[in-house]
């Protein structure tokens, strides 16, 4: 039987990828941020997941003319692409198509109309977290769950929470022994569009991470407009974290938490152990 061992929330900002690719992990302005990922590495080593369900949003790289509300990668691999500033030197990410199709079948049977994607391209929404958390050759298979956080109208936080709940039931009804970790990526506060460019809100980001751990369903009642005012227009992608939390049980332990907002984005990191599925 498949089990969810826990979840990780992490930013997916390209700035982190640029710093990593330029070998700046130990530079003074970046060291604290990259060091903050070490406890997450240790936790992942201990849990040794087979498959990661990575909840993220595409940034017009796979979906622009056609924009699905929710899409799941169901092909053999998720190809790494050039987003317009050179392809990062990483191999394509192997998918877990058998579990992905099981999830899609379960979700559709429970009224979530999922777009299936044979070639869901890996943009920074997926690749930044993958390269922050793992080293190639990739030790896990990766199922990408893309939620539209770009072209309004967007799925509500409530819908994303419910999706996470149903993803949990889908995984728990998969008969093959599979250890699963759920990732929610994006945010936290940031705004890249318009006169409010550079909006960052550490107070909200810290509160968001606390609520996500302890009272997550409170966040499902927020509206996207409220999230935009609190965290900036592009921070609507925090629904990916809400969805991730929905896939965990009520009983979680915070293993690690980090936050910094040095420039344009609130970098958040939250590692949650699912107590329902602790190794006996």
């Amino acid at each position: 039987m498949a089990r969810i061992l826990g979840g990780i929330g992490t930013s997916h900002a390209p700035s982190l990828a640029f710093a990593q690719d330029a070998g700046k992990e130990n530079d003074p302005e970046w060291k604290e941020i990259f060091d903050a990922y070490h406890p997450a590495h240790a936790w992942l080593r201990e849990k040794a997941p087979d498959t990661v369900v990575l909840i993220y949003n595409d940034h017009m790289n796979t979906f622009s003319d056609i924009v699905p509300a929710i899409a799941i990668s169901v092909g053999e691999t998720n190809p790494v692409i050039d987003e317009g500033w050179g392809k990062r030197p990483f191999p394509d990410c192997p998918n877990d198509p058998e579990l992905a199709w099981h999830m899609v079948t379960h979700l559709v049977a429970h009224d979530f109309d999922i777009t299936t994607c044979m070639s869901q391209q890996v943009d920074h929404g997926m690749l930044t977290p993958i390269t922050l958390l793992f080293k190639p050759p990739w030790p896990v298979r990766i199922i990408g769950v893309s939620i539209n956080a770009v072209q309004h109208p967007l799925p509500s936080p409530r819908r994303c929470w419910d999706l996470g709940r149903e993803i949990r039931r889908a995984i728990e009804s998969y008969t093959k022994d599979t250890k699963v970790v759920v990732l929610g990526t994006g945010g936290l506060s940031h705004q890249t569009t318009g006169p409010g460019f550079g909006h960052v809100n550490p107070d909200w980001d810290e509160n968001f991470m606390t609520l996500l751990e302890t009272e997550p369903e409170t966040l499902a009642d927020y509206t996207q407009d409220e999230i935009m005012l609190l965290g900036g227009t592009e921070s609507v992608e925090v629904v990916n974290w809400i969805c991730m939390r929905g896939a965990l049980s009520d009983e979680v332990t915070c293993v690690h938490r980090f936050y910094a907002a040095p420039m344009l984005t609130g970098y958040g990191l939250l590692v949650l152990d699912d107590k329902m599925n602790e190794e006996k």
Partner: protein, 144 residues
Amino acid sequence: MPTETHSPHASVARRQAYRPLRLPDSIIVYDGARALRGRRLNQFALSIRDEEHRRRFVADETAYMKAEGLTPHEIDMVHRRDWLEIVKYGGNMYALIKVARALGISQARVGAQMRGEDFNAFMASRPVGSTGIASRDDLDQWRE
């Protein structure tokens, strides 16, 4: 199993307990009208993900944008690097940032310009400190 707390009606009631918001001008929503009007600009911006296309665009911006079917007004906005006008029109920053980077313009410079702020003044505003706005209960100034 997770406890079953799902109740759409209760959720709607909790949302409606708050007065509606009026979004300020600092927030530009990329909605259907903008996606429709900005389609040519965004598809052009996305096309330069291809390295050869980037090279051709940078070598001759006008020729490339004409070939992509942009209108004279759209080409003019790109020439003037008027990012604020472009996003109001319907350009999406996720697509446009590819154009800016191809032209050697950083995201922070694009942003400072949209704010109407001097670049160095903007950089001096980082890191941002406490706002005192930590939850939906703190949004009264934007409610009707």
